[in-house]
Symmetry: D3
Subunit: 308 residues, 6 copies
C-alpha cells in the first residue's frame, strides 16, 4: 500500500468512497504508516448548537479537494508522510462520559502503535479524551497549543464538570498538559465572567488575543511564538475564526481570525515533536457551501506538514 | 388578563416578543386559565440529527402567523379556551436522565394546578417525562394516541434504555399508558428489525400504517378511529409527515402523511377528555422556510380545539 | 417577429437574457400579438413576509424550463398564441396607493391595445389594480375565479383599507367583479375571525374549500365548477398550495392543495373568454431550489392554454 | 464477511466511512455476494442544472438512515440478499462519450461476475451505458420499466445525439430494450413538442402518465401493470416525483408523483428477474435537507427487495 | 428585579422566551433601570431587499449567545448598567410616514423617562424617527456618529423624500444633528452620482471611507477620531461591513469593513454622553447561519459599554 | 440610444428585464458604443463543482445594484463609456471543444467591430477562447494579468488537454499571451504537485502569491505592479478571493484575498490599453445571498473604469 491519495487527474475528485484527503482507509494499527487520521463524531458536550457529530463525514467529503504539495514549506506532504484514514472512534451519543472513555481507548490504540494522530472532532470535549490517551502513553504532561475564541476553562454548567467549555481546566488539573509550556491563540471577548480568566491566571496559562494579532500584526505576533520542545499537542477550535470564515460552528464569536491569519500562524509555530493534533467544533448543519469544512481540512493539512 | 393573542391588525405579526400564538407569557400556576403551553427544548435523546432543542423558539416565532378561528369546528379557540405560554421547562443538555426528571417536575407543576398542557418538544423522549407527570396526577394509565413514522418501541441503544426511539415501550412498562386503549397512526417501514413490532404484538398496541391511510382513503380510515374515553394524551411526532412537508426533523422517513391527512385525522378523533398533548421532533436547523415549524404550530392549534 | 420562445435545443435553457418563457421582449402595444405577459413587482401590500417584489425576476429565470406543448389539451401553446414579455409595470415601493395607480395605468395600455394579459405579481393587492383596468375597458364587472388559501375579504389593518388581504372585498364593492358569477377555490382555515366569512355571505360569493377538494375528490369537485360565460379574470395566489409545494410565499397556510390538484382544477375550468389572469404572492427569498417560481411559471402556462 | 450493514445501535448512524446503506465496500468481483451497488457520478449529459456528479456521495451519506426490514414484504432485505458497495464507476467529466464507455465497462465487470447491479447516478445518460453492458451479457433486449417525468426519447440537441433526454430512443434503436415489453411511468407535460411522443408511437412504447395515476387512483392503475417476464431493468429518474418531494434534481417538472405513489407502484410491480436497476438525476446542490437523496436511498431499498 | 440576563449555566442559552441578551422584558417606563433596548421592526423605507422587519426577532434569538463581561474594557456590562428589553415599537407596515410617527412617539416615552435607548431596526429610515425623539427631548441637535457603506444623503426616489437612503440629509435639514460635530465611517463607492457627496460638502459633514481605514490602518485612523462632547447618537448600518461578514442586509456593498475593524473602531470612540444608539439594516431572510444577527447583537453590546 | 443604465430612482432596482448593470441589450455590432458586455455561460471545463453556466444570469440579476460613479477615480463610468449588454455567447453544454470555438467566434464579432469586451463566464476555460479571438484580431500576443488562486498551468486530466485548470499553459503555447509581460496575482497552495509551478518557471511567468500580499501589505505590493504597455487582457477568477467572500465557486481555496484587497489591487494597475477582461468561475448554486455574484459585478465595474 502506498498511502497516497487517489489521483484526481485519473479519478475525479467528486468520485469514490469519501475518506480524509482521499487516503486509504485502514483499520490495522500494525500497518507501517506515520499518521492516523481519525474522526471523533461527538457533540455530546455542546452548550448551544449541536451538529459536530456530522463533522468527520463533512470534512471527509470536501477534503477530496485537498492537494498534497505544501508550497510554503516546499513539501509533498503525502509523499513524505504515510497517512491513513482510520475511521471514526466509537462514541456514545447519549453520554459525554462514555464518549470520553471510548475516544480515549480508540485513540490510545493508534498512539500505542506509534502513530501520530490527527483527529477531526466532534465538539471540543473530545480533546480531553485525546489528551488523556497521549498522557497515558507519554507519561508526562504535553505542551499544548490551543487555537480558540474561548478559553475553555469555564466552570461546571447544569451540574456537569465535563463539557466543551471546560476541557482546558480539566486537562491542567488532570496533569495532561503543562500550562507553563502552553499557549492559547485567538481568544477574545465578551466573556461570561471572569471565572475562566482567573483559571488562566492561577495556572499561568498564556494567551494571545485576537485583538493583539490584529493590532500588532502577524509579523510582530510571530515573534511571541516560543519554540515548543518535547511532545506537543495542537488543538484547533474552528471558532477561533470569524463567523464569516467559519459559519458552521456551535458557539460562534464575532471579530475572529481570518483564514489566512490562522493558517499563517500555524506555519510559524516551531514544534520539535508534534505528536497529535485536532480540528474541532465544525458543525455542518450550520455551514454554508462547505466553507467551514474545507477550511478544517486545510488546517489539518497544515498540521500534517508540522508532523514531518 | 384576557389571555388573547396580540391583535395582528394592530400589531403586525412580525413584531413583538415571540410567544406561542402571541399569547401572554405567564409563570404563575395560580392564574385562572385553561391551557398551559410549554416548551421542552431538549434533544438529549436523539440518535441521528440533533436540533430539536431549538424547536420551541422556532415554533414561537412562526406561530405568530396563527389564527384563532377554527373554520371546520366553528370555534374561536382562543376565545373559548384561556391559553398562555408558560415558557420552557428546565432541561439538562448533557443528560437525558436529568432532563426527564426536570421536565416531569416542571410539567407536573402545571398539571397539578389543573391546567391542560400542550408541549412543544424537544425530541420524543420528552413525552416519557410528560406521561410520568400525568400518571402521577391522574394515578391511572392514560389513553394514548400517537402520530409517528416510528413505533418508538425500539430496544436499548449504545447501552441506553432511554432514548427517543424507546419511549413508548417504557410508557407501557411503567404503566403510564394503557396499550389496549391506545393507537399509533402513520407508522411505516422500513424497520431496523422486528424487535419493535414484537413489542406492539406483545402489548396489543394497535396501529394504523401510513399505507393503510393512503390506500384505503381518509374516510374509510376514520371509521377505524374509536372513541377515547377518559384521560387521554396525544403525542405528535412531526416525522409522521413526509419529509416534503416536514424536512426539519431528526430521523425523516419517506412516504409519509401529507399535512392535510394528518390535520384531518386529528379532527376526526373523538376524545372525551384530552388532558395533554405534544408536538415533537421538529429540528429547525434542517427546516426550510419554517414550513415544519409552521405545521407544528397548526397541529398545536388543532390540539387546542380538541381540549375544549 | 415570430413570438416563439428561444429554441432550447440550439440555445441552452440556462443561456440568454431572461424573459418569461424565453419569449421576445416587446414594448410596443401596436405590435400584432395576443397575450402580453407583464411583471408587477410590488410587495407594498404585504402583512408578513415581503419579497414578492422579486417574483417577476425569479419567475422569468426559471420559466426558461418551460415547454410549449400542452399534452393534456394537445395544444402547441406558443404556436397558437402569440405571446410576449412586455416587461414590468412601474411601481412605487414606498406606497401601495401609488403602486395601484401605476399598475392600473400600465396594464390598461396593453388591455386597450386588445391584448389579453397574464401578470406575474407581486403581492395580491396588485390584482385590485388589474381588475380596475379591466373594468375600465370592459365597462362591466368581470367573472372572477380566485385560487387562494385566504378569502382576501379581510377588514382594514393598521388603518389601511388597501392591503393584500382585502382586495376581493374592494373588488366587489367597487363593482369590478360580479360575486354571483365568481368562485374561490382552495380557501381554508384557521381564520382570524368571522369578519371575512361574513363578507362572503353578504355578497353571496361562493367558495370551494381545500377540505372539500381533498375529501370529495377531484372528479366530484370538478362537477361543481360552473361554466364562466363572458369576460372572466383568473387570479392565482400561490399560497393556495401547501407550503411543501410553495414554500416561497408571504403568508403560508398548511394543509393546502398539491401542485397536481391546482393544475388539474385549472384545466377543468370552462371559460368562454378569459381576458386576464395573474399568479401572485411568490416570495423568492423564501423559495427553495426555485420550486415555487417554477410552479408559478407552469400555472401561467396553464392560463395561456385557457386563453386560446 | 457477512455483508450486513453496520449496526446502528452499536455504531451511531452518523459515524463511520460512508458507504451505501453502511454496507461493506468491496472491489473484488469474485467475492460471493448477490448485488453490487455502484455509483455513476456523471452529469456530463445534462441540459439544465448540473450536480448529479455529487449524487453517489450524497446518497451514501444519508443512506446511513436506511433500515433493513421491509415491512410490507416482510423481508429482511440485507439478511436475504448479500449486498455490497462496489464504489464508483470511472467517469470522464469532460466527455459524455468517454463516460458512457467507462461506465459500460465498469458495470460489465460486475454483471459478468453474475452480480445483480443497483446503480446510483449520475444523470440519465448513464442508463444507456448500463443497458449496453446488460445487453452485452444477456445477448437479448431487456424488459424496461422506466419511472420519469420525461419520455427521454428527445432528438439530438446542440448537435449531440447522446444526452440525458435521448437515452430511451437510443436504447430502443440499439436493441438494448424491447419496447413492447417496456413501460414508462409518471410521464407528464408540458413537452417541448411532439417529436418525443412520436418516438413512443413509432416503437409502441407504452406509458402511464402522472395524470392517469392521480385521477384513476393507485389501485386502478396497479391493474394496468403487467407481469414482466425475463431479464428486466428498472430505471428510476427522481424527477418523476413532484419537486416538493425531490427538489434536488436537474430538470424538475411540477405536478409529479408523491413519494408514496412512487414507492407503492414499485412494490406492485411483478418482475420475474430484475437483473439491474438505477436511481438517477439526483442533484445534491439543489437538494434541501437531503430529502431527495434520502428518497433515492429508499427507492434503492425497494429495488433490492425486488431482486430477491 | 435585578435586570440581569438569564444565567446560561443554569438555563441553557437555547431555552426560554427570547429577549435581547436574555434580559427581562419590561413595559413600565417608571421602573428604575438605565437602558431601554427596543425593536423597530420596519422595512417600510427600503429600496431593494426588504426583510429588516424581522431583525428585532432574529437578533433577540441569537443574542442569547451574548456575554456580559467586556474583556477589553474590563467591564461587567450588565452588572454596571441596568438594561431591559422594552419590546418593539409600533409600526405601520404599509406607510413609512406613519411608521416614523409611531417610532418617534414610542421612543420618546422611554427617553422622557430618562432611559438611554438602544434600538435594533428596521431599515435606516427608523433612525430619523429616533433622532426626532431625541431632539424633542434634548432641544438641541445631537452629535452624530454614523457607520455605513452609504452616505444616506441621497435625493428623493419614486417621488418620496423619506426613504432609507435619505435620512441623514433630513436629519441635518430638520436640525436634529449637528453636521459639524458628526462623522460618517465606512462609506465607500461606487455611488449613484455626486448628489449625495454634494450634500456632505454643503453641510461640512465629515467622513472616513473604508479605503482610508484599510490603507492607513486602524491605529492611524483612530487618531482621526475626535472626542464627542455633549449628547451624542450612534447609528450603525450593518452594511458598513463587507457582505462576507453581513450577508443579511438590504443593499450590500462589497469591499467593506471586517467585523474586527468595526468593533475596534467603536471601542476607540470617545463619547462623553452617548444618549442613544441603533443597529439597523439587518435583513434576516438574507442572513446565513445568523452571522449578521449575531454581529448586530455584539455591536449592541459594544454600544452598551459606551453608555456607562 | 444613450447607453445609460435604467434609473433606479424612477424604476426600482428590483424591477425590469435583467441585463448587466441595467444597460440596454443590443445585438448589432455596428451600433456606436465602446464596450460589449457578454455572458459566456459554460461550465464544460470544470473538474469539481459545476454551476458556472448560471453565472451570467445571476450576475445580471444582482448587477442591478450597480452604481455608475467610481468614487476613487472620480469617474462616471457609464457616462464616459458607452456600454451595452450583448447577451450570451453560444455554447455547447456537452463539449468543451465546441464551446471554445463558439465563444471565440462570438467574441470575435464584437472585437472586430472595435468594441472592448467584458465577459462574465463561465468557467476559466472560456478565457482561452477569448484570448484566441483577441490574438486573431491583434495578431500579437497580449499582456496578460491574471487574478486566481490557481496557476492554471496544470497538465491534461482524464485525457483532456483543455480544461479549466490548463488554459494559461495553452495560452502561452499558442502564442496568445506574452508570459514575460504577464502577471499572476493571488495564487496560493497547496498544489497538486510541482508540474504547474514548473510551467511558470519554464516560461518565466511571474506571480504574486496571496501570502506576499498579506504579509508585505498592499502598499508594498503595489510597487511591484509594473506598467502594462500595449494590448492587455485581464482575467479574474473569483476564487482568488477567500471562500468567505466568494463561496459560490467551483474549486475554492482557503486563505484567499479579501474583496477590498482584490478591488484595490485592480485599481492600482497601470494599463495603457485594456482591450478585454473577464470575471469567471462564479458558481451560483453554491453562492450565499448573492455575495459572490455581487462581487463579480463590482469587479466588472472596476474593469470598465480601467477601459477608459
Amino acid at each position: 500500500m502506498d498511502f497516497m491519495p487517489l489521483n484526481g487527474r485519473q479519478f475525479p475528485r467528486f468520485s469514490g468512497i469519501k475518506t480524509f484527503y482521499r487516503l486509504p482507509y485502514v483499520t490495522d494499527p500494525n500497518l507501517d504508516f506515520n499518521v492516523a487520521i481519525m474522526g471523533a463524531p461527538s457533540d455530546a458536550g455542546v452548550s448551544y448548537r449541536p451538529g459536530a457529530r456530522f463533522a468527520p463525514s463533512a470534512i471527509r467529503d470536501i477534503s477530496s479537494l485537498g492537494r498534497s504539495y505544501h508550497w510554503n514549506h516546499d513539501i509533498h506532504v503525502f509523499k513524505k508522510l504515510k497517512c491513513a484514514d482510520v475511521g471514526d472512534s466509537s462514541v456514545d451519543p447519549l453520554s459525554i462520559e462514555n464518549t470520553l472513555t471510548l475516544i480515549e481507548q480508540n485513540s490510545f490504540d493508534w498512539i500505542q502503535a506509534q502513530k501520530k494522530l490527527l483527529t477531526f472532532g466532534g465538539d471540543h470535549s473530545v480533546t480531553l479524551a485525546l489528551l488523556r490517551a497521549f498522557k497515558r502513553y507519554h507519561k508526562t504532561p504535553l505542551n499544548f497549543i490551543h487555537f480558540d475564541a474561548h478559553l475553555d476553562t469555564y466552570p461546571a454548567a447544569w451540574g456537569h464538570e465535563y463539557h466543551h467549555g471546560s476541557f482546558v481546566r480539566h486537562a491542567i488539573e488532570e496533569g495532561l498538559i503543562n500550562p507553563s509550556s502552553s499557549l492559547q491563540i485567538g481568544v477574545r471577548g465578551p466573556l461570561a465572567g471572569d471565572e475562566d480568566l482567573n483559571v488562566n491566571i492561577k495556572y499561568n496559562l498564556k494567551y494571545i488575543t485576537t485583538d493583539e494579532i490584529k493590532i500588532e500584526g502577524l509579523k510582530e505576533i510571530s515573534k511571541k511564538l516560543s519554540h515548543f520542545n518535547g511532545p506537543t499537542y495542537l488543538s484547533f477550535d474552528i471558532d477561533c475564526l470569524d463567523p464569516a470564515y467559519a459559519p458552521g460552528t456551535g458557539t460562534p464569536v464575532p471579530a475572529g481570525l481570518t483564514s489566512f491569519e490562522a493558517l499563517w500562524l500555524i506555519r510559524q509555530l516551531s514544534i520539535s515533536n508534534l505528536v497529535g493534533a485536532d480540528v474541532v467544533e465544525v458543525s455542518p448543519p450550520f455551514d454554508q457551501s462547505q466553507i467551514t469544512a474545507l477550511l478544517a481540512a486545510q488546517v489539518g493539512h497544515e498540521f500534517l506538514a508540522k508532523m514531518l
